[in-house]
Point group: C2
Chain length 216, copies 2
């Protein structure tokens, strides 16, 4: 889920020749989003200002204030826009492979330079609006990832009533914990290890539960 | 590990009749620490000021500035002091029980009111000094918890060369991930579930590895 935040292709500052669907409003929004991500990557939350975003985006200061209100509004809109993509979790034809590929995406996003995804997560500790948007984005990403578990059930790898969310959290949490909270140096083996551990536990029935109430 | 931050008994603001070992310097330090934690729990990082801490602690403003320098210095000293305790991980005579008891301690600390441990973790995103101290504290707590794994090896529950740190991260990461990053409502079943999952994976050999180089 690419760190459950913006996709890398959405977070690169000002990609060349990027097509902007929609009219002038959509174009301005995209320019402002690119500017927010670039400023955030360079200066972090403390250096992110409405004025710097307006200048970098080449958009009138008044427009930025009117439309986004404050820095929290900018961050929330960037995070909400990250859900408007076609992102789907990796499909490698095995549970362990899917979880490992997902974890590699997360680790790459969390260790990318400039550290945009890490800065967005840090910003969620500062701004209530960014916090709520980050939570919505995480919910969206984990919901999309549930197909990894349903595919594994279809393949007969997992029992029918496996708790998809709990399995996905178990598989991905160690990567976030190490990089975002413990802030240890990235361990290149961790994405595979954490995926393998969760898959092993899943095969042993750790996430099997009663069928959900609405499944009858 | 009590959220791998301060112990609850260290984090209660101004406990009654608490004994202060050491002389005047130690007493002032303890008063200041209590004041930092109380201010942090009430106002969060943004409301934490040197002056408010000095007033609350009943200590001269100049003393606080001279000894701790700034808010980051105060937080770092509070976090470093949290390691000076006799904390040991729970001993329940089984791997699963030890991990579950540890996770319950973490969940309680992360959901306690006032939210001191959560505020300390949030502060580590703001202050470089607090960040480094929080990392030292986490390292200390995880190192102490390794005895959980060595006891399980002695009992024959786990193979001799089990990677203790990786097992402990797998067991505890889901609790931190849910409460600190995803910020979902606390799930009372999560501490047991996450512990049970890690134990199941461990019994299945997920953390078994080659003996470490320095083990020969």
């Amino acid at each position: 889920m690419t760190a459950a935040a913006a996709r890398p292709e959405d977070t690169r500052p000002t990609p060349p020749a990027r097509r902007r669907p929609g009219g002038r409003t959509a174009r301005i929004r995209a320019q402002v989003h690119d500017a927010v991500l670039a400023e955030l990557g360079e200066h972090g939350y403390d250096g992110l200002t409405m004025d710097a975003v307006a200048i970098r985006a080449g958009v009138h200061r008044a427009t930025v204030y009117r439309r986004w209100g404050d820095v929290g509004g900018l961050l929330a809109d960037v995070l909400d826009a990250a859900s408007d993509d076609g992102w789907q979790p990796p499909d490698t034809a095995s549970l362990k492979g899917d979880l490992a590929a997902l974890n590699h995406e997360i680790q790459e996003a969390l260790t990318a330079q400039p550290p945009i995804v890490a800065a967005l997560i840090a910003a969620s500790f500062r701004s209530e609006k960014a916090d709520q948007a980050q939570q919505r984005l995480w919910e969206d990403r984990y919901a999309r990832c549930e197909v990894i578990v349903s595919r594994a059930i279809e393949r007969g790898e997992l029992p029918p009533h496996t708790d998809a969310r709990r399995l996905l959290i178990a598989a991905t949490a160690p990567v976030y914990h190490q990089l975002v909270l413990l802030r240890t140096a990235p361990d290149p083996r961790l994405p595979d290890h954490a995926a393998g551990t969760a898959a092993l536990a899943a095969f042993a029935g750790a996430f099997a539960g009663a069928p959900p109430d609405d499944d009858t």
